[in-house]
């Protein structure tokens, strides 16, 4: 019998396991899911609504854990992710895998119990799309990784809508489309700033494969698509007069900031130029948050 002292073994705390669930991503998903639930027609049920949004949050956390399990090699190389629980040695990869699989199953079962087969099916699809299609395949294969993979992050409002109504209409699809077309300019603005990190980790992000100039052009083109798209909820009645004003003005500001990025040398190692991309990145978060907050207020207090 060999007695092994555990001094080299991890002393993971509960907060390390919580970090595996990417709480910041979870909070965004809770918000967009909540907006989807409140915006959907019908009286709703607070207990079932809470359960549905909770299941979406847990599913997002499970996807995060599966992502960290699979991407621990990349996370170890990149400065931004080096201190995550697995690369820092506080949590074993297998623990993250088990946590991800367990929470995936529990979230889908909870959603099925609370909201039925459509919402549960969409939730299972979202986990699969993020963990398998995006993380295992697209992320390392194509510079379109975050464009296609962005669908997983865009779906929560539609899942919550389906949880409340049992069906999908044009309105939740518009909410999904807004997040879907918002994702590329948002992430590419960030990736311009972290180009070297992605290159070192051999992740084929657009600035690495096609250069900063092509990325700046793509950011601008997507902003031209996003700005008018974000106004369309007014046409279906999902957005009211406040939404119209804010989405129109916010869209103009988004395009203006994207144009500044286009005309800059952001992503080419000059801090003053990188600021243009950082400004767009920061504004993009405010923009999406505000649009969804207004839908929440206009529909929730109508």
């Amino acid at each position: 019998m060999v007695d092994v002292t555990a001094s080299q073994l991890r002393t993971a705390s509960a907060s390390d396991y919580l970090a595996l669930l990417k709480p910041r991503v979870m909070s965004l998903v809770v918000f967009t899911g909540l907006v989807g639930y409140v915006a959907a027609p019908g009286p709703g049920d607070w207990v079932l609504g809470f359960a549905a949004v909770f299941a979406i949050a847990v599913a997002a956390g499970a996807s995060g854990a599966l992502n960290m399990w699979y991407d621990s090699d990349i996370d170890l190389v990149m400065t931004r992710t080096r201190s995550r629980p697995i690369p820092s040695g506080r949590v074993d990869r297998e623990d993250a895998l088990m946590l991800g699989l367990t929470l995936s199953a529990l979230s889908v079962v909870t959603m099925y119990l609370a909201a039925g087969v459509l919402a549960a099916g969409l939730l299972a699809f979202t986990i699969f799309f993020y963990a398998v299609v995006y993380t295992m395949w697209l992320k390392r294969a194509t510079p379109q990784n975050i464009v296609i993979g962005g669908l997983a992050g865009a779906l929560p409002p539609a899942i919550a809508w389906a949880a409340k109504t049992g069906s999908l209409t044009l309105d939740p699809i518009l909410l999904v489309a807004i997040i879907f077309f918002w994702t590329p300019p948002h992430f590419w603005a960030l990736s311009l700033l972290q180009k070297n990190d992605y290159a070192a980790a051999k992740v084929p992000m657009l600035p690495v494969t096609h250069g900063a100039k092509a990325t700046r052009l793509q950011i601008f083109l997507y902003s031209l698509l996003l700005a008018p798209l974000a106004v369309t909820p007014v046409l279906t009645g999902l957005g009211g007069p406040i939404y119209l004003a804010v989405s129109a003005l916010g869209g103009l500001a988004f395009v203006a900031l994207a144009y500044r990025v286009l005309r800059s040398n952001a992503g080419e190692g000059v801090p003053a130029e990188d600021k243009r991309a950082r400004d767009l990145f920061g504004f993009s978060i405010l923009y999406l948050f505000t649009l969804f907050a207004i839908v929440f207020i206009e529909r929730g207090f109508a």
Partner: protein
């Protein structure tokens, strides 16, 4: 060959805390399923189900 692991007091403490959170999570899940069931049953009876 058999191996045993001797945990340090800090590691024992960390394990206890992790187990506590796991227990609380399981209790929360049971409560959530109970609340969902009650809510569904109420909705069912409001619709006149079972009559």
């Amino acid at each position: 060959m058999n191996e045993t692991v001797t945990l340090t007091p800090e590691e024992l403490k960390a394990r206890k805390r992790r187990n506590m959170w796991l227990a609380l999570s399981l209790i929360a899940f049971v409560v959530l399923v109970f609340a969902i069931t009650v809510s569904k049953m109420q909705a069912f009876s409001l619709l006149g189900g079972g009559q």
